[in-house]
């Protein structure tokens, strides 16, 4: 049986006005063989957690430009845990200052990918971690 494609939710919490970067990432992950659920801009933490549960995703990727990441991300992480999604791989991107990255890692984010990130590197980062997790689960 073929391996299940990696399922990724790409979501934009908060009030960002555009989602060009998120769409580029969605498209790149599609081209890397992943199933990308894309829900558009202005998502509340509740909407994001609900979509992650219903879609049974392996990865939640949050994109944010507004600077509200340290307010919104913890709420999303909490909701995901409450809903039994504590194992989901968390990544983020957008405009995230370097000094905030330690806090995000603390929160459970595996990686933060800002402007200039190679989409191939991002896809590889995700694939390597999911493959390792699945191997761990099956062992």
């Amino acid at each position: 049986m073929a391996e299940r494609p990696i399922r990724v939710l790409i979501a934009k919490p908060g009030l960002d006005g555009h989602d060009r970067g998120a769409k580029v990432v969605a498209r790149a992950l599609r081209d890397a063989g992943m199933e990308v659920i894309y829900t558009g801009i202005r998502q509340t933490p509740e909407m994001i957690a609900e979509a992650a549960v219903q879609e049974d995703v392996d990865v939640v990727g949050l994109s944010i430009l507004s600077g509200a990441h340290l307010d919104l991300f913890p709420r999303i992480v909490d909701l995901l845990k409450q809903k039994g999604m504590q194992d989901v791989l968390l990544v983020c991107g957008g405009i995230i200052p370097d000094e905030d990255i330690a806090a995000l890692k603390q929160m459970g984010f595996a990686g933060a990918f800002g402007p200039g990130t190679s989409t191939q590197d991002l896809a590889k980062f995700i694939r390597d971690r999911i493959v390792a997790r699945r191997a761990g689960v099956n062992a």
Binding site: M1, R4, P5, A26, R27, L29, R30, D31, A32, G33, M34, E35, V36, I37, Y38, T39, G40, Q43, T44, E46, M47, E50, A51, V53, Q54, E55, D56, K83, G84, M85
Partner: protein
């Protein structure tokens, strides 16, 4: 699938439902186990297919219809299918984007599915996903196909009621009399009816329907106008879907449709399983040899197939 998971699915627990759908999507032994555990609890939902060309507004129509069903107190499950890339195997599943009004409502469950190589407008596991939602107590199940061309008609075998969504400007009256997708409609919706040409689209569809000889008790699909994005015409569309269900019940057609559906499903699974057994079975190693013989024009496709199947007798 253990008893607790089955009970969690039946109680509509979102995580349990989501994981059961992932299992049926994965196929194989896991999928069979889930279906074996839940099948007896299915058969209660009204399964409504929504199909039509890309960009006609299927997702928006599904969103608005779901809102209306919710106001009437029904729990609504949605399966939205988008195509898998034939090159990378990946997919963008974007139908949820049009269904944001439904978030935060525990009476709605939305699942996006990629076709994963299936043709016909649905994924191989779409009907199994609908079964999971049925067992979870969703009374209305809306199945949105991929943006369909003319011949993606599998939905008609999987739904009780099929809604075909058209939009103005997609074709003339010759398109309307072609075989295929229009023939499977129980309800025809001309969405984006505020655009130019809506009336001529309605007229072309009506004319086509009028050409079909009609028996006394036959269902005549209505041609409805909607502007889904503004919520216009939705009540009428949902009303007609309910009328169609009542028509099926009154004429004992629900039972025969169910049997047609089960037969189609059985044939599909037999085909898939037989193919898998041939490929993975004793003769599997022969396939490359047979392909070589075909390439060398020593054997044609029928002879090669006979050779492959014949060995299993």
């Amino acid at each position: 699938m253990d008893h607790a998971s089955v009970e969690a699915v039946r109680a509509g627990d979102p995580r349990a439902v989501a994981r059961a759908i992932s299992a049926v999507e994965r196929g194989g032994a896991q999928a069979r186990e889930v279906i074996a555990a839940i099948f007896r609890y299915t058969g209660h939902a009204h399964v409504i297919g929504v199909t039509g060309a890309p960009g006609t507004g299927k997702s928006t129509l599904v969103n608005e219809s779901a809102k209306l069903y919710r106001r009437r107190g029904h729990r609504v499950g949605i399966v939205a299918v988008d195509p898998t890339s034939p090159f990378s195997g990946g997919a963008i599943l974007g139908d949820r984007l049009r269904m944001q009004d439904l978030s935060g409502d525990a009476g709605v469950f939305i699942r996006s599915m990629a076709t994963r190589g299936s043709l016909g407008g649905l994924a191989a596991a779409t009907s199994d996903a609908a079964k999971v939602l049925d067992a979870a107590g969703f009374e209305i199940i809306l199945v949105e196909t991929v943006g369909a061309g003319q011949s993606e008609v599998d939905i008609a075998k999987n739904a009780h009621t099929t809604v075909v969504v058209e939009a103005p400007g997609l074709g003339d009256d010759i398109q309307a009399i072609k075989a295929g997708i229009l023939e499977i409609a129980d309800v025809l919706v001309v969405n984006k009816a505020d655009h130019d040409g809506a009336n001529s689209t309605v007229a072309a569809l009506e004319m086509n329907l009028n050409l079909k000889p009609k028996g006394e008790n036959d269902w005549r699909p209505p041609v409805l106008k909607t502007v889904a994005i503004k919520g216009e015409g939705i009540t009428d569309a949902v009303e007609w879907v309910c009328k169609h269900r009542a028509y099926l019940e009154a004429n004992h057609l629900l039972e025969s449709r169910e049997r047609t559906r089960l037969r189609a499903e059985l044939e599909m699974v037999v085909q898939r399983e037989l193919m898998a057994r041939l490929v993975h079975g004793v003769n599997g190693g022969q396939i490359e040899v047979l392909v070589e013989k075909m390439a060398a024009r020593e054997m044609d496709v029928y002879q090669a197939a006979e050779k492959l199947i014949g060995g299993t007798r």
